[in-house]
């Protein structure tokens, strides 16, 4: 609380304009991240996520999207990364000095890129591992039902080793494992990675439902900019460790730069031919 007041007072003194991040559930302010003590990856990144929002974070490969999520969830130390400047506040409280376990307990949960299910544990054991920070086993049965309600294919595979699930099922399990921790803020890192288009649409539908039915706030990093902008309320575009563009998702989808670089559309709104977009291929994996 003290941190919130100080920050509010400070920005008020510097600029009288209302701070859009004030009162946000999550706010990153000028965050700088360095890996291995020399590799500067985030260069003063600021963004915020309001309670109940779905926010998309877009950007090319290596822009620092995953790093941003890891900075929030406290996973940087496990990769020899460090927040060297700026601050991260959650519900008005500084969290950049907390460890990953402390951050999960506050209600923030990250689904990492590449699914990362516990392959040698069964589906149910994966979910139990997800409920680690919660006690009271009475709740667990209800919570398992909740997860199976959102991800029906998992119900039939409760006793199967997660390593034997299909890619789509693994993505569902990774999301279910996070859901069972009942986070207030769910962060998803490229949930569509390597999945067939039909499954991707299904996964994004579920993300939207989690937000609408459970009130879960969502921050999603995505290569598939089109889908992300469809389900998001707001979006940020990052390049080189900084936010370069932000706004309501619908507005960003109309932005000519975004259309050109991230959606592969021409000025007239038609899809470009492969020959035309190939030029950007090296930078934009999702084209």
């Amino acid at each position: 609380m003290a941190g919130e007041d100080e920050r509010g007072a400070g920005s008020a003194a510097a600029a009288p304009a209302p701070d859009p991040a004030a009162g946000a559930l999550l706010a990153l302010n000028n965050v700088e991240v360095i890996y291995d003590e020399v590799i500067l990856v985030l260069r003063g990144l600021s963004l915020h996520v309001g309670e109940g929002e779905v926010v998309a974070l877009l950007g090319s490969n290596g822009a620092g999207k995953s790093t941003t999520l890891k900075a929030i969830s406290g996973l940087l130390p496990s990769e020899n990364g460090e927040i060297t400047d700026g601050e991260i506040a959650y519900a008005g409280r500084r969290i950049d000095h907390l460890d990953a376990a402390g951050i999960v307990r506050l209600g923030i949960c990250q689904v990492m890129e590449g699914r990362r299910v516990f392959e040698h544990l069964t589906v149910e054991e994966n979910l139990r591992a997800g409920a680690y920070t919660r006690r009271g086993d009475g709740l667990l049965a209800d919570d398992l039902e909740l997860v199976f309600g959102y991800f029906p294919p998992l119900a039939g595979r409760r006793r199967a080793d997660a390593g034997y699930l299909s890619g789509g099922e693994q993505q569902m399990l990774a999301m279910g494992r996070a859901l069972i921790a009942r986070p207030k803020l769910l962060m998803l890192d490229e949930p569509s990675l390597g999945l067939a288009p039909k499954l991707v649409a299904e996964i994004f539908g579920i993300i939207r439902r989690l937000n609408e039915e459970l009130g879960t706030t969502i921050l999603v990093v995505e290569q598939n900019a089109r889908l992300a902008l469809e389900i998001a309320d707001r979006a940020y575009v990052m390049e080189n460790g900084r936010i370069v563009l932000d706004g309501p998702a619908a507005e960003l989808a109309q932005n000519p730069d975004v259309q050109e670089f991230y959606l592969g559309l021409t000025e007239t709104g038609e899809r470009k031919s492969y020959r035309d977009v190939k030029h950007y291929k090296r930078r934009k994996r999702w084209l």
Partner: protein, 290 residues
């Protein structure tokens, strides 16, 4: 036939104790990738502490075993926190050297406190013989087998049913993903060392009950290496199967061939396994994620 039954019981009971000691080793390796060369000394300390508490302090053996378990848990946690935690991220060879050093220090400590004279272990399991398929076998061996079976079932239940057991396996599977679920990896490491200590105390006590209390126990503890290499460094099932196989191999070689070959045969097996199946019977070939 009688000899065969006797040798089989001897081999299986020794193997069961080895399996228990190997289990502790595997727990530590699986969760934190540390190769604990001091596991044999953990057995030794378990045996001596129980001996001291029963014979010298005149406590009931059940109290003594409980006391030794507490000592082992404390020792495991202290070693993890003071010696291994500062080494996180250091090259694997440093960690190996440190646990070898630790094994020497612990062995010397036992010598300093209790000397070199072998001691008889207080009898808390009947030492009578039982008739099994026409062969006379020591009741204490059957007890050892039974107790190890109970301990292994308890461990299995812990790993599949309890919150902390599942968390340990999650950490072994994908440490960073476990961190992301709020699992405290440090607590899991400490728990692995504590459980390794417990399995060593139980193993050490059962072994001392069979062969007496002496430095020989840590020599027996060295057999953990052929066991885990055979079973696979990171496989709990492998520890059990490897223990039984090495126990039987040693017993049969001693009984049918003799001439001291039984003391080298486990290490011959170790070399052969490394040549043909370097990850052991049940070990995972690690696939590195990039």
């Amino acid at each position: 036939m009688a000899t065969f039954v006797q040798l089989t019981v001897t081999g299986l009971s020794n193997g069961a104790i080895l399996a228990l000691a190997a289990l502790g080793f595997v727990l530590i390796y699986k969760s934190s990738s540390v190769i604990n060369f001091a596991q044999g000394q953990f057995l030794l300390i378990g045996a001596y502490v129980v001996w001291a508490l029963t014979v010298e302090a005149k406590l009931h053996w059940a109290v003594a075993v409980l006391g030794a378990v507490l000592v082992a848990i404390a020792l495991g946690i202290v070693v993890e926190r003071l010696i291994l935690r500062p080494l996180v991220g250091q090259p694997i060879i440093s960690v190996i050297m440190v646990t070898i050093g630790l094994s020497q220090v612990l062995g010397a400590l036992v010598l300093i406190i209790w000397g070199t004279t072998p001691r008889a272990f207080p009898e808390f399991i009947p030492s009578s013989s039982v008739d099994l398929l026409g062969a006379q076998v020591g009741a204490s061996r059957l007890w050892a087998l039974g107790l190890v079976a109970v301990a292994l079932v308890a461990f299995a239940l812990f790993f599949t049913r309890s919150r902390h057991g599942i968390a340990m396996r999650a950490v072994a599977d994908d440490q960073q993903a476990a961190l992301a679920m709020g699992i405290s990896v440090r607590r899991v490491f400490a728990l692995a060392w504590a459980l390794a200590g417990v399995s060593a105390v139980v193993g050490g006590v059962l072994l001392a009950n069979l062969v007496g209390v002496s430095g020989e126990i840590s020599g027996f503890g060295l057999l953990v290496f052929p066991v885990v290499i055979l079973g696979g460094l990171d496989s709990v099932l492998g520890a059990v199967v490897g223990g039984a196989l090495i126990g039987l191999l040693t017993a049969y070689t001693g009984g049918y061939v003799g001439g001291g070959l039984e003391t080298v045969i486990p290490y011959v097996a170790l070399v052969l396994i490394l040549l043909v199946k370097p990850y052991g019977l049940f070990g995972q070939v690690r696939i590195e994620r990039v």
